[in-house]
């Protein structure tokens, strides 16, 4: 995950390079480090370096990294001829390389030659069954073709081997949510919370999924996870504060005064509402009255 300061840093550098000020190589390094998907800029800035022999040779062995990055970015932009050119350079430098073979397979995929790409990936996997990137490409390819159930199957198989890959768990969770398979999504978030208990995002999204599922028990659990999100973020997460208000209001409606934890419920509700009021007053006063009206709808 990318923090706000990191994102601002990238954006600043991006516009500097755009205006001829900043260093394109620094920018590319940052994009690489933060694993961002800014393919149009990577292609544009990367090519400007590669097309200038002086800048290119200054990179030393990093030149080949850049060729690989430009090839992938070009595929993302559907500039397939640029991708092909870069791959050809790499083929010449590293004949028989599996890593270059992967790029060739990806180019087939980018062309939409699904069957050929599938064959290429399968043969690469035979040589190295633990190549994570190729496993992921196959799942992504299934998704690109609209075959979501196959994508789910691939990711599940992948997770049997690489259980600790949180990105893959997240991807699976998000697919389940998009199919409205909330129980399955909840399971994924439970796994994520178990493996990284201090990441607030997982607590928050788990609570969101439980609230979406509904029912008293789920609402009560959702409330607890919104509360832990608030705890982990020092009270700064407005999604979680809204979540508490939604939960307490829905629990109140379901139990209609028969709730044993009524006092705790209403206390938590007014505390969250108060925190939201304070936040809007400070940071967005023009929408403060709108917030008050919204909270009125969620009254206990």
């Amino acid at each position: 995950m990318v923090s706000k300061t990191e994102e601002e840093q990238v954006n600043r550098l991006e516009s500097q390079v755009e205006n001829g000020g900043g260093d394109a190589w620094d920018y590319l390094g940052l994009v690489r480090k933060l694993k961002l998907r800014r393919f149009d800029k990577v292609l544009q800035f990367g090519l400007s370096i590669l097309n200038d022999p002086k800048q290119r040779s200054a990179l030393g062995p990093q030149e080949w990294t850049l060729y690989e990055e430009v090839a992938i970015a070009a595929m993302d932009c559907q500039c397939l001829d640029v991708a092909l050119e870069s791959i050809k350079v790499l083929q010449k430098k590293f004949p028989g390389s599996k890593r270059v073979g992967r790029l060739e397979a990806m180019l087939l995929e980018a062309k939409g030659s699904w069957a050929e790409a599938e064959t290429a990936y399968s043969s690469l996997l035979q040589d190295n069954p633990l190549d994570q990137i190729i496993h992921k490409r196959r799942a992504a390819m299934a998704k690109a073709q609209g075959n979501i159930s196959l994508a789910i199957e691939y990711i599940n198989k992948y997770l049997e081997i690489f259980m600790a890959d949180t990105d893959a768990w997240r991807e699976l969770a998000e697919i389940y949510v998009s199919l409205q398979m909330y129980k399955q999504a909840a399971f994924c978030y439970e796994e994520l919370i178990l493996s990284q208990p201090t990441v607030p995002l997982y607590h928050l999204t788990y609570a969101d999924v439980l609230y979406t599922l509904g029912g008293l028990e789920n609402l009560q659990t959702a409330k607890k996870y919104y509360a832990s999100t608030i705890d982990l973020t020092g009270g700064k997460n407005s999604r979680a504060l809204f979540g508490i208000c939604l939960c307490t209001s829905a629990i109140g409606q379901l139990t209609k005064g028969r709730n044993k934890e009524e006092k705790e419920n209403s206390e938590l509700h007014s505390l969250s509402a108060l925190a939201l009021e304070k936040g809007y007053k400070q940071r967005n006063p023009s929408k403060h009255s709108l917030l008050t009206a919204t909270l009125k709808c969620l009254k206990l």
């Binding site: 409205q180 939604l246 929408k287």
Partner: protein, 202 residues
């Protein structure tokens, strides 16, 4: 029923929705349409609010957004009259269940609600052609209460108020105006951000 209603969307409402989809090219996005009935058969879509670009299948952010949006536009005499959806994949022209469910919810309160799905093929062809019709497909609820695509030969049922809207849209696309769009997701992440996008066209 939305059987014979016509829909007229204002340029700014239209452009906001398309730019929102372009800002988040790699994910599904959605938005709501604000407007009113004008005359017997026409729904006027005056404004729009871009909603989400991540995990649009989750209920809590949607509930908060709908309450806030309704509260805001009620005072202006506008209500939620429809829903906009753009699929994750370029060549996906199916109306997802999430879109249908949200549409169902909106049509409980506004029976002739429109459901708009971004037409990527038309959007792609826009800079080359002179098409003045919206780059969206219109779905309405038929007598059996299910969402039906209004056939393309009946495309006159969804029109843009300003005839030059697509020209303006292409202009905004080439000047990368989509970077400035703020949706409700952005607002929930940082409440100082304005989901009304009131500065966008200034």
């Amino acid at each position: 029923m939305g059987g014979d209603s016509k829909y007229e969307i204002h340029q700014n409402a239209y452009i906001k929705l398309v730019l929102h989809a372009l800002k988040h090219k790699t994910s599904a996005v959605n938005g709501v349409l604000l407007g009113r009935l004008s005359g017997d058969e026409t729904v006027e879509i005056v404004d729009s609010v871009p909603l989400f670009h991540s995990q649009i299948g989750l209920l809590p952010p949607l509930e908060i957004a709908l309450i806030m949006i309704e509260e805001y536009f009620n005072d202006k005499g506008l209500s939620i009259v429809g829903y906009f959806h753009a699929n994750e994949r370029f060549d996906d022209f199916e109306l997802s269940n999430i879109a249908k469910n949200i549409g169902d919810h909106i049509s409980k309160y506004f029976p002739v609600a429109a459901l708009l799905l971004l037409d990527n093929k038309k959007l792609e062809a826009l800079p080359k052609g002179k098409d003045r019709s919206p780059v969206m497909q219109l779905y309405t609820k038929d007598a059996s209460r299910s969402w039906k695509l209004v056939e393309s030969d009946g495309s006159y049922r969804l029109t843009i108020k300003e005839p030059s809207a697509n020209v303006v849209l292409v202009d905004h696309i080439s000047s990368e105006k989509w970077k400035d769009i703020t949706d409700f997701d952005d607002h929930l992440d940082d409440i100082s951000k304005d989901w009304l996008n009131s500065e966008l066209f200034n």
